[in-house]
Symmetry: C5
Subunit: 360 residues, 5 copies
């Protein structure tokens, strides 16, 4: 998972709006894919340089420019300059530590959110910073690493012919955000499964390793919550905004998106509740177990320590020849059998005592 | 209980509004019951196919179409197409993981909520996804499995002659929701009884199995809460909406419904409070018990370990013939009685000590 | 205390507005007292039947009809029919599980709240469902059981001559509610005393029975909270309502009542805080005590187990005649005194060790 | 500290507005001080009877009447009658259990709040009920006991010549409230010091007496919180009120007062946070300590119990003369040294074991 | 870290608006730096006395006066008198305990906030009280101690030529606040690193010193929270204010600042969540460890105490010559091997028992 605070050291002392990448160091070149289409035509290309994208700004077709890699600030600044993105917007795009937000200027709308997905090999949740900017007929999406969350949208555009809905940039941008939010459910489902299997294991046999699992679940939920809570406001803002970029027939879709966001938040909160419940179970069962251990110790010690004393008494070497008061038991005919009788009586008495206390 | 997150995997990559069932797999055919009535007439039939219901849309009588089974998406899409339900509404109807919501279009009102009931054989609480759509003169209700929660409404319609109130679709829809909310109280009463009996048991004799009961109560309350909280907003919205579908004389009923919803929420929160209180009691009594076990161990060990040492001393084999300093006690006339006297003094002293500490 | 959820089973499947009593079973007849007065005259009577009350509806004097017992639904329905109470109002009056609420129609105002009082013999808190309905010149109060909470109002009416303020039904209704709220303070004072005495006991000598007391206090506060929270809204609504039934000169009294309600809520919350604090104290002192028990055990065992081993060594029977390596200590002149010296050194060393660890 | 609930028993059954003192019983006579001044003149006197104050109501100078002692209800009623205080206001003045509030009538403003101060000899916090009433040219303050919190205001009036600001009753009333709020900081500072010194002690050496300190801090913060929270609303209301009694140039002072109130609340909340943190530390260190005690016990017992068994074995009396299988070790030449070797090996092995477990 | 409450004792009894320094005692002289510039010129000087700054009030250039040291109240009062700062503003400037706030008069805007930074040698967080006042063409900043947080702004002014944005006092003031808020991220990053390294250590090997670290992190987060929460309101107020001092083109910068403030708050809350999670881990692992210790003790004691008893039995001295019932085992040919067989059976049985209980 990404660090929580990243912004500080590199930026200190720069003017506001300075475009500084603060995420993990990366060296591969920034990859730019351009998808250009109208109702019937569809064209996809990899841009060799930023300048390749420039003509699309003023074309009448819809263009989706996907930028993978935020570490090459220069590329992003060039793109920003051509597409009229203010320096404050560019600063936010590369500031991978920023929380989700929406910003609106006269000609563009800018949305920033977190993309969440799990790696298949383990349960690690990856959080990625994503920026979506759109104007009248173009959408630019910025993501940190190559990944397939947004691919489903490309496939849908390709497949759908004629493209009725996709012919506004607003709908395309909505489809991208919707794909990202849909992926939250995949992540949540994976967490849900872990919570449920952990719960079953905990009830049957709690071991100390479960504590780590509980803690890492807790931590992941804190991260997801941080990513998702501000999104509600963002999507709500998108619904209420009065810009021309969002046409009226988009509003049921945005409401739907809003409800999905709420449901994600809701589920995260429920999971948090459940995970604290699991911690309670874990702690209680550790208590229970210690209690049981104590009981066994107490039963054994309580029975055998007094008996050991008794055996010790008859192992003493008082001189029986000096006086008849010294250990007369040792010379009795049934001394030893009487000793065992005493042992049985003491043992039985304690057994009865423990029964009464419900320890056995 | 149903899974918490269900939506994700099957849906990924589909367009918004794709109607995909995400609940448990089911194979039985979808069952459609049609009840058609006016003030005096009452007709009830099982529809053989979806098309059987179509004529009722435009009849002047009130028609209640009850669809049992959400897994046959085709049936629901046909019905939806005929009754002008948008694809987003249909998506929600079959998405059994969705939270309660209300949606309003020009010609219909759509309410989605959770039906809760307990199976009689055990205490399991079943949560079922229910959709209620109504227009000018028809109500369509969608439920996952056959069940008798809504039957009371059918009975009431049948019995009431002449049907004054039931002659609007709004009142019929209200009656269905009211029946569902009324059932929440049955579920809550069953939980309440379990809470109270658990409380009594816990105070008299807490055992480790109670921990599981506490946990499962907690978990069920989390689920119910999730089902009920959004309902407040839904019913509140129903009260405030300005559609013609809800006539003015319905408003005292809706206010009543709203109050019942509040009371359900209230009760759930109270139960949550009480169940955490029970966990506290359980944990405290485990602590108390361990304390008691420790005391017994300590009393026995503290008395007999020193005495055992004393017996050990007089079991030593120092050669008394070498010097008068070696174990002279062994040769004394009253050595052994003196030993027992020492035992009584040490034992009595410790007894007094434990009394003073309130351990006995 | 009353059950938390009562409404469910008896009511299921009835139409909204069905008047069904859900409280404890009672058999005694419903008792109706009528107090009729104007500025100077005062008349009090026990009604033999409901019909006895009917003439007072249209008389110009102020009439207070007090109905004791909600279990005879028929009586209440008759009264309701004559005084124009809607079936939803009647349903609420007999539904003893309902939360406090206010309802307003054209001609009457209906308030529902909980009456709390303690039985003198023990600390049990009784919660009773009370309904107050008033119109232009009559007030009807409904209570579950005979009791003296409202008697103080009757006394005040009787005593006050001429009755300036009491000549509106609004003031009379206010006086009844005020008397009920005043009684909350009696209950709270009794709880406050129990909290404070519990606190003193806990600090001097916490025993396991205190846990039950803490729990029952917690539980009672949950109940009271449930009864009082919604009342704030009710009284606030009464203050804001614009009906003619509440004259302007009543408003300082209603504000006063509102403040008392707030103070009750405030006090309940403070008590809840304090009671959780008491649980913390209890648990901590159980911990402390166990710690102390452990220390005693450890000190005794740690000193005497090694010494016991030493005594055991010199109780061994190695054959000293075989070689000078076998237990040569036994044949030494000062062997036994040296043994005691070793005992003192080991004991002293451990004593010093425990001192350093602050265990002694 | 004062009791939490006081109002109940004495008042039950009285009409609203009945002036009943509910605080501690007091017998000394009520003391009334009158300070009368204008821009240049200053006069201070002790009133022999209430009637002495009456002429000041209509004088053109500003008059501050300070009443010490709320137990003589008659005095307060006379004063109230002359200065037009309604019976509800008088009721609140003597009801020492009432929470802070503000009330406004045509001719006067009435503020009620709690005065907090510490006794120098110990840390006890005294909470006192204070009422401040002011009209066009008079301020009447009511306090329970003689004390010096308000004296600083008298001094300031005396010293300031010419008295520009003090020539409105509003400013004088503000100055009194400000002096009381300023005193909250003294109390908070004293609590802050106790919190910080407790923290240091707890970290170095937590003992069971600290638990009582934590508890009493918690309790005091609950009391202070109760006194301060409603004050925010009171001061806020004072700022927003539109009466002529508060001139416009007072508003920056009221804003300042409001901010101080917020800061007091803020500090109380921070202290509550810190005190819960202290409880956590205390409990954790008790746990730690018990853990350490357990370790010592376990190490000693685990080493010496097996060794004791070994010594016991060679103390057995099997008859070596019967067969060579019976305790042949006893007759060996190096039997005893071999025993000690075994002791060293077992001891060393366990030492290594404990090291690996980080217990040593 | 600074004390929590400082205001009280020194101020008691003074009039509101009395300018009293309440921070740590300091003796070095107050240092005043003046930076005066316009689009092209830049001048920096150290003022020898307060009067040196006076001419800049009415110059047309932008002037930034930085006052380091709040303890010389006289200097601050002189400056305040010349620049029209009211006595209430001056009081707040030197009251180092005051919470962040904004105040607006006709000619100036006054912002008060906390500067946070860490000393490099250790992790101590320093909180400093900072006041920023600005008018049409001047900004005065007040800070407690010399430090380099604001230096970055000076450098930026110096470097930027021509200074387009910096030619309004509003932008300069914004830049100062932005520099302070940027520094919060440095502090948070340092805390974040400590949280993460603590987390790793805790999971691998929790020791009692970690408890102190957790506690000090908790405490620091309480302090930071206290400093940052009110800032949200301050910056929000700055955004909404309608004064001419803040030009319209500043608003995207203020929105950006507001978002950073929100992010700081957000991060602090996340850290608080994580630190409580760490406490839970710590406590659980202490529990786990004690459980493990108990198990070892129980296993050893449970095996060897009964065996010790057995050895004790055969160490008894019953007179075998008196009767054949007395310890006949001692004279048996295979008595001793049989004893060891018994030992192995008991040991093996207990081993099996512990396996079944999952203790081994």
């Amino acid at each position: 998972m990404a660090r929580l605070v990243r912004r500080a050291k590199k930026k200190l002392g720069l003017k506001p709006g300075a475009v500084v990448y603060v995420g993990e160091k990366r060296t591969e070149p920034v990859e730019i894919t351009v998808i250009d289409y109208d109702q019937t035509e569809f064209r996809e290309m990899k841009a060799k340089s930023v300048e390749d994208c420039f003509p699309f700004r003023d074309s009448s077709t819809i263009t989706w420019i996907n930028v993978t890699g935020l570490h090459d600030v220069e590329v992003i600044e060039k793109l920003g300059a051509h597409f009229n993105l203010s320096s404050l917007v560019l600063e936010d795009i590369v500031n991978t530590g920023h929380r989700p937000k929406m910003e609106e200027t006269e000609s563009i709308l800018f949305i920033m959110l977190k993309m969440l997905y799990t790696k298949t090999e383990n349960h690690d949740i990856i959080s990625e910073h994503v920026g979506v900017v759109f104007g009248k007929n173009f959408v630019i999406s910025f993501q940190e690493k190559p990944g397939d969350v947004l691919d489903v949208v490309r496939e849908r555009i390709k497949r759908t012919v004629p493209r009725v809905r996709f012919t506004t940039a607003g709908y395309l941008a909505y489809a991208l955000i919707d794909a990202i939010v849909d992926h939250y459910f995949v992540v949540l489902e994976s967490i849900g499964e872990r919570v449920e299997s952990l719960e079953e294991e905990l009830i049957s046999n709690p071991v100390s390793r479960h504590l780590d699992t509980i803690h890492s679940l807790k931590r992941e939920l804190i991260y997801i919550r941080r990513a998702v809570w501000p999104l509600r406001e963002v999507v709500g803002g998108l619904e209420r905004t009065e810009t021309d970029l969002i046409s009226d027939d988009l509003s049921p879709y945005l409401r739907d998106l809003y409800e999905h966001t709420i449901q994600v938040i809701d589920t995260v909160e429920t999971f948090r509740d459940m995970v604290s419940g699991l911690l309670d179970i874990y702690l209680s069962s550790v208590s229970n177990r210690m209690n049981e251990v104590m009981k066994v110790l107490t039963i054994i010690a309580t029975i055998f320590i007094p008996l050991g004393f008794l055996a010790g008494v008859y192992g003493m070497n008082f001189d029986t020849s000096v006086s008849p008061f010294n250990l007369p038991e040792l010379g009795m005919r049934y001394g030893y059998p009487a000793f065992w009788l005493a042992v049985l009586i003491v043992g039985g008495g304690l057994f009865w005592f423990f029964r009464r206390k419900h320890w056995l």
